[in-house]
């Protein structure tokens, strides 16, 4: 890849697009309302003597780790003022716990990768230097070129807290050959939950699958998507963006429809439930499709790279890969982002904060984003990235990659599609998953939904009581 020319192109394209898109995102460029945002000491970097060493904590598994390491090496080689070291902290959970422990002991990184839903808790640590400070201080003009929803996710009350970095979205995976065998048209995958059910029935009755049509991972992330698509928030107070969320908002038409659908699918033998909190079953649905037990599932777009590699190896002659947008109750809303953001730390020294900001700009440049997305399967968060050959080639080769990007760039951008902000996200996930599990063992959907709502809200209340 002729890197310099790509960079130049990217810069040109980026600027052009940034200018074109600028009016579209006025709220993001606005000065934060919260006056208490700490300053970003940009000038400290030039005053620092010698090389400024900074550390980034991440949790990427091997293939993705190599992709971020490659970017880091490029950055380190491109200049001599800043040197970045990466430390792999193995999982989001362990990383966050090490970060919290570091708040006591002082062992903290200068940049930390935290999964999307950790946003409220990161704000509550009172250790984050909001990226917004540096955006303002640096007069950073490229935010308009970002996929707007990526920025909206990490923006609360006008303050951009983290840089979106690795972004993903859930997509619908299906086996085109099983569709053909069942007499379904593989070029028109189901778009609504009801269509999934109808197709699952055909897949099962035709004998195209040995177990069930659909592999159902009960990840609350999908519930959030369905709510957002139909313009419902997941938590109250403007999805936690106008004020601290105090309750989940699950008991509405979409919530009930989703629970009813899941219940019908499982009790009718059309779906195999798969407890998403259970760590040993993360990829069961995809393996089930490979083995012909299942033919459809919803999973993260980040899995697409692996899947296409496996299929290309010829190991699964009976599988044809189909990727389409996540089926949903119809609505004018949009889907929300997943993945993780990168946070700066107020605990770092000024020159390290300034250096870390320079590195974040590099990681989120159009060229870096294109390179990272092509290597990992994450969704580029720069609009101009997709005009670059790396992404164009990728989309031509595996069209499924475009599906996730399109999901995040279509539909309404509002508080619902921006995604929820709330504390103790693991507790909320557990509450909802447990209620769904009960439903799969016979509880009525309305009762299960009510239980999910009350248990999740109690979790929020318990967390909120502790951060006052």
């Amino acid at each position: 890849m002729p890197r310099p020319s790509v960079r130049t192109l990217a810069a040109v394209a980026g600027t052009a697009l940034a200018l074109a898109a600028l009016p579209a995102a006025p709220a993001l460029a606005a000065v934060p309302r919260a006056a208490s945002v700490p300053p970003c000491p940009l000038s400290a970097l030039s005053k620092a003597k010698g090389t400024v060493n900074i550390t980034l904590w991440h949790q990427f598994p091997r293939a993705n780790e190599q992709a971020i390491q490659a970017l880091t090496n490029q950055f380190n080689a491109s200049q001599s003022k800043i040197h970045v070291s990466l430390v792999n902290q193995t999982t989001y959970q362990d990383l966050f716990n090490k970060y919290v422990a570091g708040l006591s002991t002082g062992d903290l990184p200068d940049v930390v990768q935290i999964e999307d839903e950790g946003l409220q808790q990161m704000i509550d640590t009172r250790s984050v230097l909001p990226v917004q400070s540096c955006v303002n201080a640096d007069h950073y003009g490229e935010l308009g070129d970002f996929v707007e929803r990526d920025l909206r996710y990490y923006t609360v009350k006008g303050v951009l807290w983290a840089m979106p970095f690795n972004v993903s979205a859930p997509v619908f995976y299906y086996n085109t050959k099983a569709f053909t065998k069942a007499g379904l048209d593989p070029s028109s995958p189901p778009k609504t939950l009801d269509q999934v059910k109808a197709d699952a029935e055909k897949l099962k009755s035709s004998g195209a699958v040995t177990q069930a049509g659909f592999g159902l991972k009960n990840d609350p992330w999908y519930l959030q998507q369905w709510l957002a698509k139909t313009n419902f928030t997941f938590v109250n107070n403007g999805n936690g963006r106008n004020g601290r969320a105090t309750k989940t908002t699950l008991q509405n038409a979409t919530g009930l429809q989703a629970f009813q659908w899941m219940s019908d699918m499982v009790s009718g033998g059309l779906a195999v439930p798969n407890d998403y909190l259970n760590p040993s079953s993360a990829v069961n649905n995809l393996i089930g499709i490979g083995n012909g037990n299942l033919a459809m599932t919803i999973d993260t777009s980040a899995a697409l790279g692996t899947i296409s590699q496996l299929l290309a190896s010829g190991a699964y002659p009976n599988v044809g890969l189909g990727v389409s947008p996540i089926p949903s109750p119809p609505g004018s809303g949009g889907f929300r982002v997943g993945g993780a953001g990168l946070y700066l730390s107020t605990k770092s020294s000024p020159e390290k904060q300034a250096a870390a900001w320079q590195f974040l700009k590099f990681l989120d440049s159009p060229a870096s984003q294109a390179q990272f997305a092509a290597a990992t399967g994450y969704i580029p968060n720069r609009k101009s990235s997709v005009t670059l050959s790396a992404i164009q080639d990728l989309w031509a080769r595996i069209p499924g990659y475009k599906v996730a990007y399109d999901e995040l760039t279509s539909g309404a951008d509002n508080l619902a599609s921006a995604g929820p902000v709330f504390g103790d996200y693991i507790g909320v996930r557990e509450a909802i998953t447990a209620a769904e599990g009960k439903m799969f063992n016979g509880e009525k959907p309305a009762a299960a939904l009510a239980e999910a709502q009350s248990k999740a809200s109690a979790t929020l209340a318990a967390y909120n009581a502790r951060v006052r």
């Binding site: 091997r62 422990a101 002991t105 993360a282 393996i287 899995a303 899947i307 590699q309 190991a315």
Partner: protein, 296 residues
């Protein structure tokens, strides 16, 4: 049991022991015994066997139906990948260093404490014993954050000492060796006292050799717990430099299907040092058998 001091002090081969092989039993019974042992052995070893098989299969074949019970064309490259991706080269070295420190420390503290509880009389012995047992009732996970602060305050963050220090003594070890020492016949102690042995000499010359199987078991147990630590090494190290095997294993975990065989290879790599230790230790156990059966 009135053996002289020298024969106590050197619990060597001790030839005159236990039962003679029974030639009178019919062969059928012998076959039955082997059959029973073999079936049980198969049940115990099968999960490990299938893991080794899985580490050598192409990833899609791990999920194949019917399952593969034998890798027809083993893929050894999974071990290469696991070795480099899990950083096993220097993680194994770090684990070996930390584990050695912990095993030696635990054996010493447990021998001393176990001996005190078994052979010495002192006030509050029962209370102190309960205090030792009480340490077992506090899961390490509960104290881990405060211990991190302590280790940082001691200036031992990101050092081998910091990795090992909290584990140099366990109530388990003291309890296990107390039980073993209590099994030593009183006559031996009386005989040793007559020969002018003090406690220190009796401990190392008589009690420790006689309790060798239990000490061996404790050594293995200490090795295992130290080797398999994950949370503490992750918290108390700054970066890759001092990290240990289980962290490498966790780094191999992967949501991607194509790498499942590499995860299994990593599991096997992490187990091999323990397996070697076990085989070596097994001999010690058997020798312990003859040493334990001293006769007068």
């Amino acid at each position: 049991m009135t053996a002289g001091a020298p024969s106590i002090a050197v619990p060597g081969p001790a030839p005159a022991i236990v039962t003679r092989p029974r030639r009178s039993r019919p062969g059928l019974r012998l076959v039955g015994r082997y059959l029973l042992l073999s079936v049980l052995a198969l049940v115990v070893i099968f999960p490990i066997y299938i893991t080794v098989v899985n580490s050598l299969l192409p990833a899609p074949q791990i999920a194949a139906r019917p399952p593969k019970f034998f890798p027809s064309s083993p893929i050894w490259s999974t071990y290469d990948k696991a070795w480099s991706n899990g950083h096993f080269g220097h993680y194994l070295f770090n684990s070996a260093v930390v584990t050695t420190i912990i095993v030696v420390g635990q054996l010493l503290t447990a021998i001393l404490a176990g001996y005190a509880f078994a052979f010495l009389k002192f006030p509050f012995k029962r209370t102190l014993f309960v205090i030792f047992l009480a340490t077992l009732m506090i899961p390490f996970e509960v104290t881990i954050v405060q211990n991190l602060t302590t280790v940082v305050d001691l200036g031992l963050y990101d050092t081998y000492a910091g990795l090992a220090l909290p584990f140099l003594a366990t109530g388990f070890g003291a309890f296990l060796l107390r039980q073993a020492f209590l099994g030593i016949p009183r006559d031996l102690e009386d005989a040793a006292a007559l020969d002018g042995y003090g406690h220190w000499r009796f401990l190392w010359r008589v009690a420790v050799p006689l309790a060798r199987p239990a000490i061996g078991a404790l050594g293995v147990f200490a090795f295992l717990t130290a080797w398999n630590q994950y949370l503490w090494p992750l918290l108390v190290t700054k970066d890759d430099r001092l990290r240990t095997v289980q962290i490498g294993l966790r780094q191999l975990r992967s949501a991607s299907i194509e790498q499942v065989n590499v995860t299994f290879a990593g599991v096997v790599i992490a187990v091999i040092p323990l397996a070697i230790l076990l085989i070596v230790f097994q001999k010690q156990l058997i020798r312990g058998l003859t040493a334990g059966a001293i006769k007068g």
